[in-house]
Symmetry: C2
Subunit: 121 residues, 2 copies
DNA sequence: TATGGTACATACAAAAAAGTAAGTAATGGC
DNA sequence: GCCATTACTTACTTTTTTGTATGTACCATA
């Protein structure tokens, strides 16, 4: 999230895996702690920064900003700034971002099933 | 992976998110650096520890062991030990593990498409 | 008796991710 | 002039993940 060391084994391995495997590449795109929660909240339309912050309880402004920046850089989320004071910024899913929705619905179902299997009442 | 501090904000947030969101829960299951590469390699049947190690270049024995343990604990991979010397251990996907295959194929396609979009030649 | 193969375990170090606390800019309303 | 609002920064600390290096058990074979 912050600075990474370009030539660390860690970073080189990450690059190697991402290059090698589309699947790992995809997972990395949405792999940050809060990213999926952000994306889920955007599923039904645009939200302002402050709306996201209050919908996702426990997230700090710093984390929200960092994840949104990454999602924006990765073309999954679109950011629109309105020239107003106080500032108004809206976030929404891009087309390629929306294409994740049916996939994550399945993943979510899998999770529910898995959870039921491993922790039966 | 190693010891975690039960009451750190970091850990509490992780628990909270996982409890709250099946999707994040699912992603956490396969979120480790090498997990998906391991799972992909098991897609076509059982493999021994040493086979996995040589198929996944750059992975260390420690990382392979750690990830396999987690996948086993999460019921995604099954471990079979043969009472032989030298030891022989085989790994394979469980039923719930196999149910991820169609999902990760879609994710993989998404990744390919996304990659083409963001880095067109 | 020494050696080799297999699947690990352990102690430690480096790197990355997440969290904390405080500050900033712009401007409209009081 | 002062304060409130919004969407951020920045500097720093803590926690977690990843990687390095080395050691272990077991027994068959040389």
């Amino acid at each position: 999230m912050a600075k990474i060391k370009e030539n660390s084994t860690n970073n080189l391995n990450r690059k190697y895996i991402i290059t090698d495997c589309n699947l790992t590449y995809s997972i990395c795109m949405v792999g940050g702690r809060w990213k999926l929660l952000i994306l889920c909240n955007l599923e039904n339309g645009k939200l302002r920064f402050g709306e996201l912050r209050s919908k996702i309880c426990n997230i700090t402004e710093r984390m929200l900003t960092l994840h949104l920046r990454e999602l924006e850089n990765d073309g999954i989320v679109k950011r629109t700034v309105y020239a107003e004071v106080p500032p108004k910024v809206e976030y929404e899913l891009t087309d390629i971002g929306r294409e994740l929705i049916p996939i994550w619905e399945q993943l979510s179902n899998w999770g529910e099933k898995h959870r039921a299997m491993t922790r039966p009442e």
